[in-house]
């Protein structure tokens, strides 16, 4: 038996072993784990210091200037909101289509969503000139007798992100309940307390299971609608402005596709790491990565299609101010970044993942890192060239480069993702245990 383990599909493993394998990483704290969490914590600490400098002295400590008023923070914002689409969207789509191979992936993906949203949601606050007044965007009866301006796309953002965070936390939480109920049974006292409280006294009765399954089906549908709208609205932050190369109708779907694309890449990396670090080779098999790779290829093509559509319409339209931005992107100042983006977002995935012989977990991870870089660049290329090439040519100005503060804060958010993920995977099984059982009822009907 042990020798044949490799070919056994995880669904056919004995349940006890699954449970044991998946719960094992939760217990025991190794030195490695501490270091893995401590290093990113230091990075976060430095990022926090950088932010405190920014709060103390003003936005002047960033690389922003007139007319490039948006820079790394907004790029980060779009990037992280994009990453957040990994989870919810993927797990919701796969759940709705009942794709069986999704099962070991969904939890990991949904966790990415929640953390990426928490991180991404910080940036609209970090980028404010007076961050300590961020709550002025909230609709609450205030002493200024003034409600916020609901016509502002930033209010749309706020509403959408609030809805999305709420939805995705619930979406992550619901399928965790049965697992936590199990975890509550044998464990250290404080963990037992925690899991007990969080599992709300789950007993595993068929009433509960029915409610859970129904809620998950509904949630999958709703969260899909929210996720699409969230990134559409993020895109509309740009598209609603009458700035050249922003005022585009395809920005909504373009951003959604880009978001899923980067989300998948993020998921690929996270899964490969989990697999390696937690010894879950049995559960996250080549099969899963293969499927993810195919999805990545699909999104890569879609992304290229949108990029092409976006640029060819601008080029053909030959609007003078758009052409300046177009030129800056493709020929002059940002050309290197632009073509690097096309290379890592399209050429690299197609070579590494499109050619069957080359397709492996390693190449998938390499391609995914490329895609993450490419998608970061994409957002940079959308934000900066438009702003630095104003409609009145005389107002155009020097290029934008981030300052150490912006870089530190950006790094801190990546570190934050690592820390949050490490904590999460120590507290909760990263693969939904109960979902592993084969569903046979439908076959019987």
């Amino acid at each position: 038996m042990p020798g044949r383990v490799k070919v056994t599909p995880p669904e056919l493993l004995p349940y006890g072993k699954i449970r044991e394998d998946l719960f094992r990483p939760l217990s025991g704290l190794t030195k490695k784990y501490f270091i893995a969490i401590l290093l990113p914590l230091l990075v976060i600490l430095f990022g926090a210091y950088a932010w405190s400098v920014q709060l103390r002295y003003g936005m002047g400590v960033t690389g922003l200037h007139r007319p490039v008023f948006w820079g790394f923070y907004i790029v980060d914002f779009v990037f992280w909101i994009g990453i957040s689409h990994a989870g919810t969207l993927i797990s919701a789509i796969l759940r709705l289509t009942d794709a069986g191979w999704r099962k070991p992936i969904t939890r990991a993906a949904e966790a990415i969503t929640v953390f990426a949203l928490m991180i991404g949601g910080l940036f609209p606050i970090i980028h404010l000139g007076r961050a300590w007044r961020f709550y002025w965007l909230m609709p609450y009866p205030n002493s200024r007798l003034l409600w916020p301006n609901f016509r502002s796309p930033l209010l749309w953002d706020l509403t959408a992100i609030c809805a999305y965070v709420t939805g995705s936390v619930i979406f992550l939480y619901l399928p965790l309940i049965p697992d936590m109920a199990q975890l509550a049974e044998h464990n250290t006292p404080w963990r037992r307390k925690l899991y007990k409280a969080l599992s709300l006294g789950w007993t595993g009765s068929d009433t509960e299971w029915h409610a859970l399954e129904r809620a998950m089906k509904l949630m999958a549908g709703i969260i899909l609608a929210v996720a699409v709208s969230v990134h559409t609205i993020v895109a509309w932050d740009f598209a609603m402005a009458i700035a050249p190369m922003w005022h585009s109708t395809i920005f909504g779907p373009y951003f959604v596709v880009g978001a899923i694309f980067s989300g998948l890449a993020g998921l690929m990396i996270v899964m490969a790491l989990i697999r390696k670090l937690m010894g879950l080779e049995l559960y996250l098999t080549k099969h899963h990565f293969d499927n993810l790779a195919k999805l990545l290829l699909l999104m890569s093509v879609l992304w290229l299609y949108f990029t092409l559509a976006e640029h060819i319409t601008a080029w053909y339209g030959n609007d003078p101010s758009e052409m300046v931005v177009f030129g800056a992107r493709t020929r002059t100042r940002f050309a290197f970044l632009f073509w690097l983006m096309v290379f890592v977002n399209f050429v690299v995935p197609f070579v590494l993942l499109g050619i069957r012989k080359l397709r492996s977990i390693t190449t998938g991870v390499i391609a995914s890192f490329g895609i993450l870089l490419g998608m970061f660049l994409e957002r940079y290329i959308i934000v900066v060239p438009t702003l630095s090439n104003t409609r009145l040519p005389a107002a155009s100005s020097m290029s934008y480069l981030p300052s150490w503060v912006e870089i530190a804060i950006t790094c801190a958010t990546f570190a934050g993702m690592v820390v949050l993920y490490l904590l999460f995977s120590k507290l909760f099984p990263i693969i939904a245990v109960w979902e592993f059982k084969p569903h046979v009822a439908e076959d019987e009907l």
Binding site: G58, L64, H65, P67, F69, L128, P153, R391, A395
Partner: protein, 228 residues
């Protein structure tokens, strides 16, 4: 009838001397940048004089164009502000309320004229430079957006004076600092709702154009083109 303030700038008169720029600084407590800040693009000029070189040597021409907030009737900066820090006042002015501003930068990004300026740091005036501050104009703190106000404090003062003296406001009684200072009298300010005002007549001129009119922002600054 309510006023509708507007400006006309005759580019044929403008010599690019930039007296208007200093007038604006003196009137509006505009922060002084340091060379380090200037090098990173943090200089503030509510009113700037753009220059465009055209033609080949020796028939090169320069077009000077004083660009200030165009006080658009349909201002793109206004709807995007989540806190109503920028809104439209009853006299058609595009008003910036510093206290409400949280600094989202959105208005500046959506301004096709790029006339919005940000306070990157708290402004510094070494003693005794603060004595020059115009008490009619707020000094802005770090983190808020600012821009040309058409010297709203002068409009207010003009209206107060007219109310106190019982004399109706005449065309030209109210002048923003830039208009007042312009040696070539290239800039004219007045009420666009008064068809007899100088600015209304200049706006009717066949030489009159508005900046980026095709965007539908309906600016209230009229430029009279050069050379005719």
């Amino acid at each position: 009838m309510a006023h509708r303030w507007g400006m006309a700038i005759d580019l044929d008169r403008c010599t690019g001397c930039e007296a208007c720029v200093v007038a604006c600084h003196a009137e509006n407590n505009i922060p002084i940048s340091t060379p380090e800040q200037a090098a990173t693009g943090r200089t503030t000029h509510w009113l700037r004089v753009d220059r465009y070189y055209e033609g080949d040597f020796p028939d090169v021409k320069v077009k000077y164009m004083p660009v200030l907030c165009q006080q658009c009737d349909e201002a793109p900066c206004e709807p995007v502000c989540p806190t109503y820090a920028t809104y439209h006042n009853p006299e058609g002015l595009n008003v910036q309320v510093y206290n409400r501003c949280v600094g989202t930068f959105y208005c500046a990004n959506n301004c096709p004229y790029t006339v919005r300026y940000f306070n990157w740091f708290d402004p510094v005036w070494p003693e005794p430079m603060q004595l020059q501050h115009n008490p009619d104009v707020a000094v802005r703190m770090a983190g808020v957006m600012e821009k040309c106000t058409f010297c709203i404090q002068r409009i207010k003062r003009g209206k107060d004076e007219s109310a106190a003296s019982g004399q109706e406001l005449a065309d030209g009684d109210i002048q923003p600092a830039c208009v007042q200072g312009c040696p070539a009298e290239a800039m004219v300010f007045g009420d666009l709702n008064d068809p007899e005002s100088k600015v209304s007549r200049m706006a009717e001129s066949s030489r009159a154009t508005r900046l980026l009119e095709e965007l539908g922002t309906k600016p209230k600054v009229f430029y009279l083109e050069r050379g005719r």
